[in-house]
């Protein structure tokens, strides 16, 4: 009897390892390119290292302490927050109102849906470079080169002409608006898909009860859409807080620190000043901030589900 059992065990072990071999390539790649770097970002954040020398000096939490009082770092977080606020209000309002309009029977619906999703399929580099060219501030023989300034002068509004991307007052707003331009299509498609799952009988019932369009929206559409709206909000926050390629392609390194966001700080700490440990400390701290924010929203969305 023991011999058979041993055979069984062996057969089971072989069976398991054959099954396991299906996930092995995925786990191998994941371990090398995700888990090890994940460990290393925490490890590096406790060291001072220039990226070249073989010696990494252990400094404990010194990088984090320095980060706490790094004014440019906090400024960069505020900039990302500013972009996020504009995206949450302007971009999401736009996406939601477009989705509401397109949810009805309307002509050209397919055309609109197709066009609104074109900016999201473009890369941030492409979007940034196109808009940089439109917002270009130079002049040649008295004529503005950039389209926006040119149009402003021709339509009799020369006092609005601006160095859009090099003026500290307007640069960040321009970036935020271009970010919205690129991003609203996502929210639109998700919200529209959500709206289409709402049972039309609910609208019927509301109409029978004598609810007007505002009341129907307030008491039927909005509560039914809350989970989807929260998903869009979380995606917007996570996406906007981490925006940086758009900034690189629109203003490059920028002048002063007017357009710095956390990820560009990480990048310039790594490539510019060669402080890899400090860059990782930034990454870890900012990651913690993002996780806290999305956990808070998750908590909120669970609450709304229970009500």
């Amino acid at each position: 009897m023991p011999a058979i059992r041993k055979n069984n065990l062996l057969a089971k072990a072989i069976d398991n390892s054959v099954n396991f071999s299906f996930v092995l390539p995925a786990i191998a790649i994941f371990s090398i390119f995700y888990i090890y770097p994940f460990y290393d970002i925490f490890n590096l954040s406790l060291h001072e290292w220039n990226g070249i020398s073989s010696y990494r000096e252990f400094v404990g939490l010194a990088n984090f302490k320095e980060l706490m009082v790094d004014k440019i770092w906090w400024k960069s977080i505020w900039h990302a927050g500013f972009i996020t606020i504009i995206a949450l209000t302007f971009q999401n309002m736009l996406a939601f109102s477009l989705a509401l309009v397109c949810d009805r029977q309307i002509r050209l619906k397919k055309f609109y849906r197709t066009v609104f999703f074109i900016p999201p399929v473009l890369s941030e580099i492409v979007v940034g470079l196109i808009w940089q060219w439109i917002l270009y501030a130079g002049t040649q023989s008295g004529e503005h080169i950039g389209l926006l300034n040119y149009v402003l002068v021709k339509s009799g509004l020369p006092h609005l002409v601006n160095n859009w991307l090099s003026n500290p007052k307007t640069a960040l707003t321009c970036i935020a608006l271009v970010h919205c331009w690129k991003g609203f299509g996502w929210g639109f498609i998700i919200l529209l898909a959500g709206l289409q799952t709402i049972d039309s009988q609910l609208y019927e019932a509301a109409r029978v009860d004598g609810a007007g369009s505002w009341k129907t929206f307030r008491h039927v559409t909005l509560p039914m859409m809350m989970p989807v709206i929260l998903v869009v909000i979380i995606l917007t926050v996570l996406g906007s807080m981490q925006v940086f390629i758009l900034i690189i392609s629109m203003v490059g390194q920028g002048l002063g620190y007017h357009t710095e966001v956390p990820v560009t700080r990480i990048l310039s700490s790594m490539m510019g000043t060669g402080r890899y440990g400090y860059a990782c400390a930034m990454g870890v701290s900012f990651g913690a901030i993002l996780i806290t924010i999305s956990a808070a929203f998750k908590y909120l969305s669970n609450k709304t589900k229970q009500v």
Partner: protein, 280 residues
Amino acid sequence: MINKYTIKKFFISIITHIFLMTVAMSCLFPLFWMLRCALMTNETVFVDKSIIPSQMNFGNFITAWVEGGFGIYFLNSIIYTASVVFGIVIIASLAGYAFSRLRFPGKNLFFYMFIAALMIPLPGSFVPLVVLMNKLGWANTRYGYILCMINVGLSMSILLFKTFFDKMSPDLEDAARIDGCGRLGIWWHVALPLARPAIAVVVIFNSLNVWNEYILANLLLNDKSLMPLQRGLMVFQGSHSVDYPLLMSGLAIAVVPIVVVYLVMQKHIIKGLSSGITVG
């Protein structure tokens, strides 16, 4: 009364269409402007602001393709996109199939590990990744970049495949097993052909992602002969006293394929997005 109602309805529909059209035009106009400027010369582009330029100059595309290096960048983008997407489809469908159908110890642990990677935002994860690639000597190589990009799309694709296989009826696989088909044979001959809708979604989203990727290409690839389009655009923008018509032609070369793919595959993209949301 009815008259008043129809007039009101008519005006509302006109206002909605004006609103929708304005937004739609704002989406299309920058792309039109890019194409228009790509067709001008360096002398006219600064002066001529007419909507349709008086002289069309298709030479920019040839110059960008040959002298600007966009031919090489374009070819590289194709190579990277094709190999990454192929790798992801094979590796993720194998893993997704195993997580859905097969038994092995630690299955749930490994699966949740992939899910956790989707949930945890890790800004600056490129720093240790670049350090690792330098250490392994895989920086500035094609396969290094391809493997990194496979990892980027892996978790989401595994999740998509697993949820798809979970919903699929196992009848056909059982039939194949009775016919003496092995596990690998069932995956290849039965599961994968049935998973075509999931494959479509995985292929489209990962293609968009790889085609548009910039930051890893920027940090890992230094040789011009290895760079994909997005990286090439930034090199071009940085190194010349910017020749805008040429830059716009380069942008057009990067934009046109992705927009065409999007227009052809639209249905799958929208379906994939809605299903992705229900999964999340």
